[in-house]
Every structure is written in structure tokens, then in C-alpha cells.
């Protein structure tokens, strides 16, 4: 038995098989797997009776859905107005350059996914960077560098242990 398949069925059972639950199902799959695979999309469509084309139109309409796998670490930079005024875009530019990836993308080695977010509502501590759901307040390029180094180092250590 494929364990992934089992979990998917568990998610399917959470909601009635009706079109209005399409987004609920996609959200749960997104949070369990980090993305929506073609197989899981097909399963959702079978369950809700929504045509595949429409399900994809929904999945591509909303920013929070991904159709390709996420990297090991997700780095989000807030680009709300307060963060923008305090240099949020600069953080994105520098991360793009350091990671060789555009915002929204994942590095080739699948270590990092870089995303931007419109406003996290944490304007008092702008600019904000979020790494795997942990908030980093009042970020500077220097602090960002340090965090990136830490994450890279952590990965190397793990590889070393194996």
C-alpha cells in the first residue's frame, strides 16, 4: 500500500463529495504535501465531481496552491506596504541572487523555496521574513545572510550524519 494514497483518502473523507468543498480539499492536500500533484488533483475531481479543467483553474487562481513540490525550507518575505517601505523588496532581490531562483521558485537542489506574501499583518516588526513558519522580525540583508548560512549549514550537518 502506498502510504501517501492512504493519507489522501483520509483527507477525502473529511468533507462531503460536493463541488463546494473543492477548495477545502485542495487546501488540506496543500498543507499535507506542500503541493497538489496531478494524481491528487484527479482524485479530488473524482470525489467532488468538478471537471479537471475547472479544478486547475481554481488551483492556479489562488496564490496559496502550488502544483510543483516545495523545497525543504520555505522562505517567505512579506511585501506589505510597511515592509515595502522598510526594504522588503531588497530582501527578495538579494535572496533571488543568492539562491539563484526567482520568487515563487524552488532551488534545483530542492533545498529552498522562495515566496513573497502580500501582508502578514505584522507591520510593527517590518520587514518580516518567515522561514518555515518562524517569524524573523526587522530583517536586514546581513541578518538574512546569517539565517541562510545557518540553514545551509544545518543541511550539511544532516548530510554528514547520514
Amino acid at each position: 500500500m502506498n502510504p501517501v494514497g492512504t493519507n489522501l483518502e483520509e483527507i477525502m473523507d473529511r468533507y462531503p463529495g460536493e463541488p463546494e468543498y473543492l477548495i477545502f480539499l485542495l487546501q488540506d492536500i496543500q498543507s499535507s504535501y506542500g503541493y497538489i500533484s496531478p494524481e491528487s488533483m484527479q482524485r479530488v475531481c473524482d470525489r467532488t465531481g468538478v471537471p479537471l479543467t475547472r479544478a486547475y483553474s481554481v488551483a492556479t487562481f489562488y496564490q496559496s496552491f502550488r502544483l510543483d513540490p516545495k523545497g525543504e525550507h520555505e522562505i517567505k518575505v512579506c511585501l506589505g506596504t510597511a515592509c515595502h517601505l522598510k526594504g522588503g523588496q531588497r530582501l527578495v532581490d538579494e535572496l533571488e541572487r543568492r539562491l539563484h531562483v526567482e520568487a515563487g521558485g524552488t532551488t534545483e537542489d530542492m533545498r529552498f523555496t522562495l515566496n513573497t506574501v502580500n501582508c502578514l499583518g505584522a507591520c510593527a516588526i517590518s520587514p518580516v521574513m518567515v522561514v518555515d513558519d518562524e517569524y524573523h522580525p526587522s530583517m536586514s540583508v546581513k541578518k538574512m545572510d546569517r539565517e541562510l548560512k545557518r540553514l545551509r549549514h544545518e543541511g550539511e550537518k544532516e548530510v554528514g550524519n547520514v
Partner: protein, 633 residues
């Protein structure tokens, strides 16, 4: 507290009358010792990100180290946003009300020893006026709080949002009980009309009138009718709805249930932005607790009225804050808006009559029912009654959550409550209304902040973001920022929005590079008018506001970009150069080490220089220099 009371409070019991609610409330109050010291730790978004959870843990640990059982006395309580986010993590010690700021876990022991076990303040952690150095001990003394009129957010930062009994003790659901036992649905709508409340989501449509039209639609079309909470707070820089849902979810629920009663709705929806997981969690907990006390669900307080609601999580689309787009999203589809020649009150969710109101609007309703519509209408100014919650952010000393009566002058909010931009300088502009609003210049600082006055100066109330800008912020850049934001968020259904925004952004891109001409400013204005008239929904028709207001008030700055090829604020990358002041540079080499383009040269202990042709203008040198030697021109 008697043992029987304690037992009763531990297990929820189904309340079957307003009298039951009153009894419960009295029991809870009786069980609370007003002199019991409580350490109230803010768990709002800002404070949590700053380490609030570790601070709360340190206090719990500190109490147990001191041999005090936290379950008995004193206690640690965590709350929603206490307001003054820029000085977080915040901690208040009750009953004396000592306010501590920027508290670190290491401070817990000293605060416990001095302010919990004794009544001595720890002044080094208290609010200090940046200008006068004066130290303030309590919220009542701190100007940021003293000058506000907190009604809607009164309980936020005081109650534990995950514990319904804490909310009930402060009067939650008493307005619902009053409505269900003494008022007819018609009377509720009448009271809403008397209150003059206008929707807090942005457009400011009178809520009572909306409900009245819904009743008329229901007469024609029958039921079901739906009530919806718009918690898709997408305006960047705005977090007041998030703070309300996180800090006092019961206020939103109580308002919603009262609305449902007035309209005869049995089912409601709360559409909450995906970026607010804590709001979703707290609302879910609040709903479960309200159900178990019989305040939601079947036969509420034995009145015969039944109502339940469910939460829909948003999925990251700004346009879903628009009501018709929000409905299609709840229906499980892509959130495209539709033309509004048929109003939502007639044909909304599932094609049925629907009343959608913003979070803050719903949270106002228990207040209105509690004090009566006429009394409520005395707050604020005649055509904008009540208070408004704002998020004061950007280049301002006191960043945080602010509530003032409608009609309060802008300068009072930004300067007196917010403490100004710092350094005694005037602010450059205040941006209100998010991507749909405009920039109000310093010269209009006395503008009363109410719906009509803000519209008159070209901006709008919007949901309540107030972004303060100083002289280092460029209006062209801000205009470009909002256009880029809206261009990405546009659903693409109508041409004015899809193509018009892109073209406008292209023009501003050129401006930021010193290209273009003064004639392009005319083009911008003409495109703006096309959007205003032709866009399908409010997202598009209000999109030109940030650009139009900046052209109106800061035309010189636009012209400086296109004619002099200069960015006076020093923001637009193509128009600025970084240089090192040889007088100030002591050759520490810090900038050279950190420069990603490796274009800073110089020997140790000798002044350095930047090769402007290689410079990326990333600003890292500016950030690293400790001697203020790097300047932008």
C-alpha cells in the same frame, strides 16, 4: 469561590435563558479575585513574532521557580493584541496595570519579584517618552492609549480569546440575550438604522440600510438568507480585522448571530484570510465554546431561534475581499467578481439574499444593541458615526492598533497618538485605504478622518490601514508598488483592470528610471479615468487612487523623475548613486567585505570608494556602515 461554582465553571452548561447567562456571568466574576496578580502577556501577531511565547513561558517558569503554583495565584494570561506593537513583546501586570515593553524572557524574574510579589515598578522596561524622557507606568498614563477611545477593541488585550468565560465575564453575549428576549427582528434593523453605522470594510455603505434592503428582498424571494463575515483582510498594512478575530472572536460571533436573528438567517459563513491561521483557530474555538453553552446552534437561549456558521479559509487572492468574488470563492470556485447590477442583498451566495459585512462592522453590533442606536450615533460625527480602528504603520514611532471616534483629525492620530515620524520632523504623507486609497500630504494634516472627508481629499477610509511616510519615501515608488500589487491581484476578467493597470505600471516603471515625459502624466490621468468608469468591480475602479492623489499632491516629485532624472527621496534605484564620505570613513572594511558586487575598494584604515559603474544599489553598504559614512545622492 465555592466548590460548586468551580465545578459549574469547569464544565460548560447549556444556557437556556438570558437569566442563565447573567447567573453564569456573576458566577465567573465571583470566582475571580480582583486582587489576584495576573501577568498578562500579549500574544498578538507582532509580539509573538518578537518572542512573546517565550516570554510567557519564562513567567510560568519564574513563578514555579519562586515556588508559586500558577494555578492558584498569581496567574499568567495570554491575550490578543495589546496595541503598541512596535514596543513588543508587551506584558501588563494586573491589578496595578503596570505596562512593560520589549520584555525579554530574562526580565521575568525581576518583574515577578518586584511587581508581582510586591507593587514596585521596574522602570527600565516601562514606556519612556522619546522626546521628554518621561516614564509612564500604566495604560491610562501612556499617551498612545490615553488619547484613544477604545470601544470595539476594548476587550482585546484584556481577555483570553480562547476562553469564553473570560469574554462572558466582560459582558460578551449580553447584547444577544437582550435582543433575543426583548426585541423583534424589525426592531433590531430599526436600531441599526438609527445607529448610522457605515460598513467598515471600505466603501462605507450604511449597514442598517443594507439590512433593510435584504428584508425587502426576502419578502420577494423568501428564505434561505445568508449572513457572511468578510474576514479577507487583504489591504497590505492593515491588520485590525485580524486582531479583532484573534483577540475577541466572540464579539464577531455575537454580532453575526444578532444579524442572523434580524434577517432570519439560519446559516452563516466566516471567510477568513489564509494568512491568519491564529484568527481561524480562535474563531473555531470560540464557535465550539459558544455552541456548548447554547449561545450558537439549535434554539439559542431557548428563544426558538437557531443559527450556525462555518469558516471558509481564503486561499490567497486579494480580489476575494470583494463581496461577489468572496461568494464565488465560498461556492468553491475561482473568485471572480460579477457586475453588481443585481445587488448581493437580492442575489448573493448561492443566488440567495445575502448580507455580507466586514469583521469590524459585525463587532460593532453588540455595542449598538447594548447602548441603543441613538446613543451610538452620538459617537463620532453626524455622517460617520461610531469609532474606527486603524493600523498605524510605517515611519511612525508608535506602530500599532488605534481606535478613535470618527472625525478625529489626522494629526492627532499620527502625531499625538503615533508619536510622529521621530526626530521631530513632519511626516511627508499618510496613505489611507490601502491599494484603493490615496496619499494625504502633510499640508492636509488636519483633515478629519471620516468617510466623507477622506473621499473629499481623494483618498478613502478603506479598511483602516494608515501608512505613514517620511521624506525618505518616494511617491512614484509607492504608486508603482500599489499598481504592481493590483496588477498581480487583478482577476483579469475585465479589460480596463487587466490592461489598464499594466500600462500604468509601465509608465511608472519608466518614471522610476528617469524615462518618460510630462505628457505621460496626462496619460496616467486618462487611464485612471478609464479604470474608474469601466472596471467591473471596486478593486479596479478604485485602483488609480494612489497614483491620482500622488500626482495631485506631489506633482513636483513626478516631474523631478522625468525632467531632472532625479529621485528626491533617494529610493528609485536607477536614479541614485551610493558614495562614501572620505571624512567619515575610517576604513573598517565592513562595507567592502559585505558588498555582493565587490565594487568597494580601499586599504584598511584608509577611506574606501565605491565604483558606481559596478554598483548594484542594493544598499547593503548603507546597512553595514556603523559610521554613517555612506550617502545616497
Amino acid at each position: 469561590m465555592s466548590d460548586s461554582t468551580a465545578a459549574k465553571l469547569q464544565t460548560p452548561w447549556r444556557l437556556t435563558s438570558p437569566g442563565d447567562l447573567e447567573t453564569l456571568r456573576n458566577d465567573i466574576i465571583e470566582s475571580q479575585d480582583p486582587n489576584r496578580p495576573t501577568i498578562v502577556v500579549c500574544h498578538g501577531n507582532g509580539c509573538l513574532a518578537g518572542g512573546g511565547a517565550k516570554v510567557a513561558e519564562a513567567f510560568r517558569q519564574g513563578l514555579s521557580d519562586a515556588g508559586i503554583n500558577a494555578k492558584l495565584m498569581p496567574g499568567v494570561k495570554t491575550t490578543g493584541c495589546q496595541g503598541l506593537c512596535s514596543r513588543g513583546p508587551l506584558v501588563t501586570i494586573q491589578p496595578h496595570g503596570f505596562c512593560y515593553q520589549r520584555v525579554q524572557p530574562g526580565d521575568a524574574a525581576e518583574i515577578i519579584e518586584k511587581s508581582v510579589m510586591a507593587t514596585e515598578p521596574v522602570e527600565r522596561l516601562m514606556h519612556r517618552d522619546t522626546k521628554t524622557g518621561e516614564v509612564f507606568h500604566t495604560e491610562e498614563e501612556i499617551p498612545f492609549y490615553r488619547l484613544q477611545e477604545r470601544r470595539v477593541i476594548q476587550k482585546i488585550g484584556k481577555i483570553d480569546p480562547t476562553d469564553i468565560t473570560d469574554a462572558i465575564a466582560t459582558g460578551a453575549y449580553s447584547s444577544l440575550a437582550k435582543v433575543l428576549s426583548t426585541m423583534t427582528p424589525q426592531e433590531v434593523v430599526l436600531e441599526m438604522e438609527k445607529s448610522g453605522l457605515r460598513g467598515r470594510g471600505g466603501a462605507g455603505f450604511p449597514t442598517g440600510r443594507k439590512w433593510r434592503s435584504a428584508l425587502q428582498a426576502i419578502e420577494k424571494k423568501g428564505r434561505p438568507v445568508y449572513v457572511v463575515v468578510n474576514g479577507d483582510e487583504g489591504d497590505p498594512g492593515a491588520f485590525m480585522d485580524g486582531a479583532i478575530m484573534e483577540g475577541d472572536p466572540h464579539a464577531v460571533l455575537e454580532g453575526l448571530i444578532i444579524g442572523a436573528y434580524a434577517l432570519g438567517a439560519e446559516k452563516g459563513y466566516l471567510y477568513v484570510r489564509a494568512e491568519y491561521p491564529m484568527a481561524i483557530k480562535h474563531l473555531e474555538m470560540a464557535m465550539a465554546q459558544a455552541r456548548s453553552y447554547g449561545l450558537m446552534g439549535e434554539n439559542i437561549l431557548n428563544s426558538g431561534f437557531s443559527f450556525d456558521a462555518r469558516i471558509n479559509r481564503g486561499a490567497g487572492a486579494f480580489v476575494c475581499g470583494e463581496s461577489t468574488a468572496l461568494f464565488t470563492s465560498i461556492e468553491g470556485k475561482a473568485g471572480n467578481p460579477r457586475p453588481k447590477y443585481v445587488r448581493s442583498v437580492e442575489e448573493g451566495l448561492w443566488g440567495r439574499p445575502t448580507v455580507l459585512n466586514n469583521v469590524e462592522t459585525w463587532a460593532n453590533i453588540p455595542l449598538i444593541m447594548g447602548m441603543g442606536g441613538e446613543e451610538y450615533a452620538k459617537i463620532g460625527v453626524p455622517h460617520s458615526t461610531g469609532t474606527k480602528v486603524f493600523c498605524l504603520v510605517g515611519k511612525v514611532e508608535n506602530v500599532g492598533l488605534v481606535e478613535v471616534p470618527m472625525g478625529t483629525p489626522m494629526t492627532r492620530i499620527v502625531e499625538d497618538i503615533g508619536g510622529g515620524v521621530g526626530g521631530g520632523k513632519p511626516f511627508k504623507a499618510v496613505q489611507t485605504g490601502g491599494p484603493s486609497g490615496g496619499c494625504i500630504p502633510y499640508s492636509l494634516k488636519d483633515t478629519p478622518v471620516d468617510f466623507d472627508s477622506l473621499t473629499k481629499v481623494g483618498s478613502m477610509m478603506g479598511s483602516g490601514a494608515m501608512i505613514v511616510m517620511d521624506e525618505t519615501d518616494c511617491v512614484v515608488d509607492v504608486g508603482r508598488y500599489f499598481l504592481k500589487f493590483l496588477e498581480e491581484e487583478s482577476c483579469g476578467k475585465c479589460i480596463p483592470c487587466r490592461l489598464g493597470l499594466s500600462r500604468m505600471r509601465e509608465i511608472l516603471d519608466n518614471f522610476s528610471q528617469g524615462k518618460g515625459s510630462a505628457a505621460d502624466i496626462e496619460d496616467l490621468t486618462s487611464l485612471s479615468n478609464a479604470l474608474k468608469d469601466g472596471a467591473l468591480c471596486a478593486l479596479g475602479s478604485s485602483a488609480p487612487n494612489p497614483v491620482l492623489t500622488t500626482i495631485r499632491y506631489f506633482k513636483d516629485e513626478y516631474l523631478a523623475h522625468v525632467e531632472d532624472h532625479k529621485c528626491p527621496a533617494g529610493v528609485c534605484k536607477s536614479l541614485i548613486t551610493f558614495a562614501i564620505d572620505p571624512e567619515k570613513c575610517n576604513g573598517c572594511m565592513s562595507c567592502a567585505r559585505n558588498c555582493p558586487a565587490e565594487c568597494i575598494t580601499g586599504k584598511k584604515k584608509e577611506p574606501h570608494a565605491i565604483d558606481a559603474s559596478q554598483c548594484l544599489r542594493c544598499g547593503i553598504c548603507l546597512e553595514t556602515c556603523k559610521f554613517d559614512a555612506i550617502f545616497v545622492s
